[in-house]
Amino acid sequence: MGCEMESDQPEDLDVVLTSMWPEDMNEAGRQFNVERPGVDQDMLEEVTINKEPKIVDFQRLMELTNYSDKGNGQLVKLVKNWEFKQANVVRLLREELDQLSKQQQEVELKKLEILEEHRFEKDGYGGDKRPISILDENLRYLYQDAPKRRKDVVSQGKIVAIDAEYDSVVYWKQRAMHLEKLLEASLQREQVLVEKLQESIENLERQSTPVEELSQVLKRADNFLHFVLQNAPVVIGHQDKDMRYRFIFNHFPSLGEQDIIGKTDVEIFTGAGVKESQDFKREVLERGLPAKREITFETELFGSKTFLIYVEPVFSKAGETIGVNYMGMEVTDQVRKREKMAKLREEFAVQKAKETELNKTIHITEETMRAKQMLATMSHEIRSPLSGVVSMTEILATTNLDKEQRQLLKVMLSSGDLVLQLINDILDLSKVESGVMKLEATKFRPREVVKHVLQTAAASLQKLLTLEGHVAEDVPIEVIGDVLRIRQILTNLISNAIKFTHQGKVGINLYVVPELSDMNEQGSEKKSQVQSTDSANTNGNGHANNSTCPEESELKNRSCDQNGDQMDQDKESGTKAEERVVWIRCDVYDTGIGIPEHAMSNLFKKYMQVGADTARKYGGTGLGLAICKQLVELMGGYLTVSSVEHHGSTFTFVLPYKVSSASDTDETDELSDTDHQDVLGDDDDLNSGMFLFQPRTLGTLFSSQLNGRIPKLLPNSYGNNCNGLLEDCPLPFSNIASNEGVSEEGSDSTAGAMETTSSMLEIQHAGSDNLKEQEQDRSHFIAQEIASECSSTNRTTVEKDETKQHKILLVEDNKINIMVAKSMMKQLGYAIDVVSNGAEAVRAVQRSAYHLILMDVYMPVMDGLQATRLIRSFEETGSWEEAVKAGIEMEAASHQSCSTSQVEETRKRVPIIAMTANTVSESADECYANGMDSFVSKPITLQTLRQCLQSYLV
């Protein structure tokens, strides 16, 4: 808009413009328009015609212009500008006037000169000059413009050169002509000046009034604004201090003037954001400072839109705010994009975080796996040499040592055992965790397990605690499960309970529960159980042994002494028992220190104990419970704990067991008939399943025979075994029926004794010596002495019974292996038959009945797997057809000569245990698939052999 003026008064432009524009827009406006004023003008015309989107309260605008500070300033500036312009014009005119008057004077002077020169010729030529002077006189006030130019044109000082002689006619003629020319030129000039004058006059006339000029300026500004704002998505408005619209410019008007002017936002719109914008405007009004804000509107009028709103306060001349200018721009799309971007960025960040997290997790998992693997490997690697150390120590213990050396050795042994136990625990744990551990399904009697565990615990008991066990009547006599693992869990829990209990009792409570029973019954059950055990105190020991004594079993030339006794109890529960699953719950309770609430959560974690002080006080690795829990869960049950600090804890595990099928019970029925007379009253004991080990009772009971009933610091196995054995000692001589379950523990005890082999050179002396020693000083017992004594007594009495009771067949082709196995069996107290391949094994089984077969898998002629299949097929069908088919010559005669009972017995499923060189699980699966019951990995050790015999020759 200022551009048109540029040509005339460029220096004025800025002055005018600054008043017209908000400061910050000045630059942009200029840039935009400086170049082509003409074109702009055209466009502006157009704009003015086409669009009239603004709605103005003119009166208010007038008022604004009059009263507001800004309007006032603007007016003042406009007026100043006009005044300045006028002043400038006046100055110019004055300058010109001065010049003209100067020229006038010069011309006058010239004229005077000329007149002086031509005084005498006044007559003839005076008439020529006259009009000029008049004209001069007249023009004198009018010739103002361009006096300078004229000065150049007028050649005043030029002396006219005339060739003719002075004062001659020619001369005067020439002179006259010359002057005439000058006159002509003068006239011409006069003409020009007149024109100029005319023009000036017109110009003067055209010169507008200040108001006109101002309105023109305003109009230009207006046009420019229109041009700029033509398509801008902006809303510009002014609101008074009541927030009523006084002016609004909106490119997309959707409301008429009457709808807006004089109303507030709230009155016009409804919906979200309206109130906020109004409040915002009001805030600006109050604070008197311009501000920007983004407001999202959600109105019915134009839907959901986001506006960037700029609001500035308008001040009156007195400096009070009288309203606000507001400018809004729709930024919905931008906001949306921005939000989208933000969201994307956020998602990206989240994803990235997740990724890193995942990577970390993967890394950790890998690390953990590797660490576990390493731990397992390490443990294994450590175990081998460690067992070497322990074994060597044991050997060393058999040599002649003095008391102090023995003491030291004892410490060595117990430390070694502890480390071995720890390593075994770690191995177990990593086995369970890596899923390598396989469970075995074997038949076992829960009552016996409970009894054994309690006996074992009682044997190694070093405190005055009552150990009790109670098996409910509804618990089946025989169930199927992994007895070794269950025993491990029970032993672990019991030893834990004993460890943390200083007085009172520790007990096991076994009963059938419906699947996933609630915990509430436990309390009442326990109470009744406690009462019943109390009442049973007096004959508690009677309960504990429910098997026959060795004499009795010796009398019977049958090998199934205990089997018989216990199986006849199957009649009650067993006949009912189909192939079904029972859930048996086992509570291991104590009256110990309990577990504080806060420690419950850590209880089953690895290497965790209740507290640092606990660990210090009680020792232990903190692995036991973790293993128990994992084992229980592996078997499909669950392990829970409830505890009251200082009053005791109860560990409860519930496991599913299969109950033996009905066919088994039929068989046992027949068998048990013969045994029934031998075991009077045992029925009740077994079914009530009550076991009680009271410290005092035990003491008196055994003091008659041996004072050292409670050995100190003995590993469990020794104690347990000796428990039975020490009692056995006098039996052969006194012929008194034992109160303890001797025959059953017989195998255990032998095994236990054998574990600590020694060259028994001095046993005969030591035996009697030891007895005296024990009586003198109980606490000086050590494992070795007891063990050696056990084995010595063992040899004389129990062992012989056992060998008669159990027939074991070893199928093995390797001479060395045979030798070793034979020797081990001898130590364990069994005589064995040996055959060297599968075919011979089948023939041997045909000849006589065995209670256990140890079968090598890879053998010449016929391997162990095939032999097992053949034996199993015989057991199922009763005929050797399969074997004959396989090309084995059968001894028909011997088969027929068998008595009926023998046939029955033979056809009972013989436990077959594979001996395999590779311990890999696949081959184990193969063994199971072929009908084997278990497997031991070669080379066999006393330990594994004993475990195996224990679980199959009970």
């Binding site: 081998s384 040499p385 074994s391 390797n814 060395i816 292996n817 070793v820």
Partner: protein
């Protein structure tokens, strides 16, 4: 004085055993064997080991014969021999022999003749080593037994003892 020599011999034995264990020549299975030795079979270990060496020597001879026959190496038969050897080795706790056997068997399963030959050489070496060491061991043990046996009897036998 004699008691001292018994102790000395016992220490020697233990040291020797410890070395063999440390070298991995033997493992704890050997201790199992020792555990099986009692008054009813006082020479159990040496008996078993003697039989073992006897058997192994036969097996090694057979293996060499099988391998020398370049054309018709009967790898299957070799495998049976090796299984046998491996079984007895692991039974007496000859760990290193057992491991070599395992490697040998792996090579024989792949019909890898050079591998087999190498393994056989190693096997023979290990066999000799074990034999020498165990021989030494049993010799010491015998001395120890003798020394232990003369502990209580008459003093005149003391003098004879060290030479025995």
């Amino acid at each position: 004085m004699l008691g001292l020599s018994v102790e000395q011999l016992r220490a020697d034995m233990n040291r020797l055993l410890a070395i063999l264990f440390h070298q991995g020549v033997l493992d704890e299975q050997f201790l199992q064997l020792q555990q099986l030795q009692d008054e009813s079979s006082p020479n159990f270990v040496s008996e078993v080991v003697t039989i073992y060496f006897h058997e192994s020597e036969k097996l090694l001879r057979n293996l060499r014969a099988l391998l020398v026959d370049k054309e018709l190496s009967d790898y299957k038969k070799m495998g049976i021999h090796l299984n046998q050897l491996m079984g007895s080795s692991s039974s007496i706790g000859a760990q290193r022999l057992r491991n070599v056997c395992a490697a040998f068997r792996a090579a024989s399963e792949l019909n890898n003749r050079p591998g087999c030959l190498r393994a056989l050489e190693l096997l023979e070496y290990e066999y000799c080593y074990l034999k020498n060491k165990l021989h030494e061991f049993f010799q010491i043990e015998q001395q120890r037994m003798l020394a232990a046996a003369v502990r209580y009897p008459a003093p005149q036998q003391h003098r004879n003892n060290p030479q025995g």
